[in-house]
Amino acid sequence: MSVLVFADSTEGKFKKSAFEVVSYGKKVAEQLGSNVVVVTIDANSTEELYTYGAEKVVSVKNDSLSIFNAKEYASVLKQVADAEGSSVIVLGSSIDVLHVAPLLAVALDAGYASNVVALPSSTSPFTVKRKAFSNKGFSNTVISTDKKIIGVAKNSYGVHENAVSGTTETFEASIAESGVKSEKIDKVTGQVTIADAEIVVSAGRGLKGPENWGMIEELADVLGAATACSKPVSDLGWRPHGEHVGQTGKPVASNLYIAIGISGAIQHLAGINASKVKVVINTDPEAPFFKAADYGIVGDAFEVVPKLIEKLKAFKQA
């Protein structure tokens, strides 16, 4: 009756969200009075996971798993869940995990609650709180099946250290026949991705044109942040589509979101509500973003941002 946690990795290295789901799974195991087992697929080393409470780690390695494949990964996770007799499976919310989770739910005949933002409020009935209506509400959801899958929303529970002396076992999984084959991966390397960024610097139509993004990139660089934009900016081709955040774009759940020259339309806010601290810089004191932000500067981006870069550089050096 263990709790099984999938610690997601990319190119052998754990994502930060992996430590969050392990922290979460450890607590759920305590609530249930059971133990936690963490499964990794194609991760280089598993020791880091002990820091967050992973007493037992099951490591699956196989050359054909080095590139993510939803069907193969679902089959591997099912094999481990069966072998460990897991009744609760804890997953994250990365793009890959969102791809595999529904397949696993069917394979295990498990109820699946995605976007979960807190520990179960009750384990009988098993009740979790989930984001709904694009962050405009929450639903308290009961999972009634014997096996349960929880998808933890990014940055919602946090990373909590809880060091144990864990052990790692290897697991030989049989690889499922998959009808989908990866042909090519195109990644922007060397940049912080929006999904994993602690800080996101985002700009909108207020910047007037793509030629003005230099200062946005510089600000992001100083902060070690990812860059993002509002929808019209990507629609106009000023920035790549992958940077568009909001309801129809990417969701952001960073610790800090800085919005520059973005009005704060409801569809934009829907994608960034889950960020913890929001800063707005806008010339218009009536811009709706000021209602959603924690800190605001009414001012011209072309004056404020260069000053901010300069001061931040000094702050970082101090």
């Binding site: 793009i95 308290n140 800063v279």
Partner: protein
Amino acid sequence: MKILVCISHVPDTTSKINFTENDTKFDTNGVQFVINPYDEFSLTRAMWFKEKQGATVTVVNVGNASTEPTLRKALAIGADDAIRVNMEAVDGLSVAKQLAEVVKNGGYDLVLAGRESIDYNGAMVPGMLSSLIDFNFVNGCIDLEVDGTSVTAIREIDGGNETLSTSLPLVIGGQKGIVEEKDLRIPNMRGIMMARKKPLNVVEPVAAENATSITSFEKPAPKGTVKLIDADNVDELIDLLHNEAKVI
């Protein structure tokens, strides 16, 4: 090619969200319902297949009678016929089981759905459906080409995209990119007139238990007011972000 497009009936993105009956029900009062934006991208892609390489397009929704105007809108955009599975949709797995039945009975080769719905944000129905009927599955799809039964699809990944080769039969979780927003179809008068005559078949659900159920809703705690900082004093902002918010 026989295409099925899954249509979710959702509150318009600008809707104010309220709950009634002791916060156990979504308050539909004054709310306008639309085709789920992600499904709209997939529906438009289906129309392209129909026009450029020949296909029939059926739209399907699992829901009660109140969702029919949304299905009519999809017919006005150009779908050939519509199916409504007469059941209140409350849980991803049970909805996927109804859709699986529709796919089996209709012999579809390509099922286009949206990555997630903007009301319950479950992001689970397309994937569950693909498993239940043993079709291939690509989620977060931003490009799709079909040649005979061979398929090339591109999906979004963290920090980039991945090109995949697969084959029909296939389920897609689509999003912006599968068509561009400027190419989305708006129903015209002729389409609306024709939609009235197109078949909208109501079928009764098969037995499928819910795996999850919502017991209550909550709204986020009201936010405090914004702290305004003088534009000439960015030092104060840095200080607040460092010492008060502790994010830098």
